[in-house]
């Protein structure tokens, strides 16, 4: 068994987290390689994608906001801006460029100069194959502080078109009734705050050479 932190009761984790500091930097930070769901704090829906293409705009795979908290299609994987640029377990810094890869379809969160279908903002799609898309898959994590902490609401600003990942509440009809439109908008406001929710968070890494085993 390593360290006493693993033994702390689960539901009290938030309260006792302060006692676990010291072993790794930023223990509550989101790290590369983690898989998570993102909640839009203004509209209370999670970032989501699925094998449904837009009927207009680019015709690429659509990205929406869903109310359910138990849909496996809402999982996104945090990766560096290019392969090898962010090692597993490295905490993501505020201002760092990342890609968000949709776990179930292998496509990256992407935006480009196409209008979004409901609100005429900028269309946000899921693009690429097996995690490889193009340069328009890169987003900057905007937050205050040093690292992207899990409890914090952060913004995602697109590298290339400079828009913020947002939801303003427009809803789709059939066949994805009730799902909200996700788009890019140029202004920073309360519509573009996102918070890490459910997920598999890789703890900030310990160098294997320094790993101490009992």
């Amino acid at each position: 068994m390593r360290g006493g932190c693993r033994l702390f009761p689960l539901l009290l984790l938030a309260l006792l987290r302060g006692l676990c500091h010291g072993r790794e930097p930023a223990p509550g930070a989101v790290t590369c390689g983690s898989v998570l769901k993102l909640l839009n704090t203004r509209h209370n829906v999670r970032l989501h994608s699925h094998e449904v293409k837009y009927g207009s705009g680019s015709g690429q795979q659509s990205v929406t906001g869903v109310e359910a908290s138990d849909d496996a299609n809402s999982y996104w994987r945090i990766r560096g801006r290019s392969d090898g640029s962010c090692q597993r377990g490295t905490p993501v810094k505020c201002g760092q460029a990342i890609r968000l890869t949709h776990v179930n379809t292998g496509k990256n969160l992407h935006t480009h100069h196409f209008p979004s279908p409901l609100s005429n903002n900028q269309e946000v799609s899921a693009f690429g194959d097996d995690g490889e898309g193009d340069d328009l898959d890169i987003w900057i994590v905007q937050c205050s502080g040093t690292y992207w902490e899990r409890e914090d609401a952060v913004r995602f600003k697109h590298v290339g078109t400079e828009v913020f990942l947002s939801i303003t509440g427009e809803q789709y009809g059939h066949p994805i009734r009730g799902q909200r439109e996700v788009h890019g908008m140029p202004t920073a406001n309360h519509h573009n705050y996102w918070k890490a929710m459910e997920g598999i968070f890789i703890k900030p890494g310990v160098d294997p050479a320094k790993h101490d085993e009992l």
């Binding site: 539901l11 898989v35 849909d71 496996a72 994987r77 090898g84 597993r88 890789i202 703890k203």
Partner: protein, 281 residues
């Protein structure tokens, strides 16, 4: 048989028995009623064929590992935050299904109608909970191998949660190439070393040094096998593969001066003053 409500309840109870302990049902009756279905019930995984226990989705997480971790092993700590069904006040409808109901209209006259039948269950709400999981990267692990955590996938309000599976993705290494349990690497030697021999240490994945000594001529593309210096075998860590070193010979970049041509640099022993020009470092 399945349209009869009472027999359906018995079938349900029996089907669930494989998953839940302590379910009592009259075995004798069931066997006689279901004799024709005997083969169906005992074939295959009871978990998959039971229509009454819905299951949440599985989550597959790619776990990138370095070749150093494949050699020495490692532990990865992960925090799993997931929604869990918790008791809430009141009741809710659950296990809703379509059933055929047979009602008797009169003597010898029956009517079969289809209706939706639900059970009543305690109300649940989804609450997020966290727990720490530890994934062991075992020495010798191969690309694509999975480490499952049963029940840590997506929940299902009416049934069981799915599983969480970590799938190993071995990253490319800048120095070593893996082929099965063997490791391949390239080393460049100078022309002088190729002709007269050399001695060197190669740093392995865990830092230990592999000593290589040669006193014969080494041709470009020559391979040297070091048994036991490969990766540990996944099934038996005591068995290791081999390290295969391929030598590349670097020829001098500029033309030899007259002095160098005459000066006997190409005769053994090497690495004398004035001959070092021939090695590219």
């Amino acid at each position: 048989v399945l349209s009869d409500e009472e027999k359906r309840k018995q079938y349900d109870a029996y089907g669930e028995e494989g998953l839940k302990d302590g379910h009592q049902s009259s075995h004798g009756d069931i066997f006689s009623h279901f004799f024709g279905d005997f083969g169906f019930m005992f074939g295959g995984n009871p978990r998959q064929q039971d229509r009454n226990i819905p299951r949440g989705s599985d989550i597959i997480v790619d776990l990138e590992v370095t070749l150093e971790e494949v050699y020495s092993g490692n532990f990865v700590e992960v925090v799993r935050n997931k929604p869990v069904a918790r008791q809430a006040p009141g009741k809710r409808k659950c296990n809703c299904r379509q059933e055929m109901r047979t009602t008797q209209l009169g003597p010898g006259r029956f009517q079969m109608t289809q209706e939706v039948v639900c059970d009543e269950c305690p109300n649940v709400k989804l609450v997020n909970e966290e727990r720490t999981l530890e994934v062991e990267i075992e020495p010798g692990v191969r690309d694509g191998m999975e480490y499952p955590f049963i029940g840590e996938g997506e929940p299902h309000v009416d049934g069981e949660p799915g599983d969480l599976r970590f799938r190993i993705k071995v990253l490319k290494h800048p120095v070593f190439e893996r082929r099965g349990d063997d490791l391949y690497t390239n080393v460049t030697i100078s022309l002088v070393e190729a002709l007269t021999g050399f001695e060197m240490d190669i740093a392995h994945l865990d830092g230990h040094k592999v000593h290589v000594a040669r006193d014969k001529i080494t041709k470009p593309g020559a391979k040297l096998w070091k048994k036991g210096e490969g990766l540990p075998n996944f099934d038996n860590n005591n068995i290791k593969g081999s390290l295969i070193i391929t030598f590349d010979v670097e020829f001098p970049k500029e033309q030899l001066t007259n002095d160098q041509r005459e000066g006997g640099c190409l005769k053994a022993p090497s690495r004398q003053r004035g001959c070092t020009d021939l090695s590219p470092e």
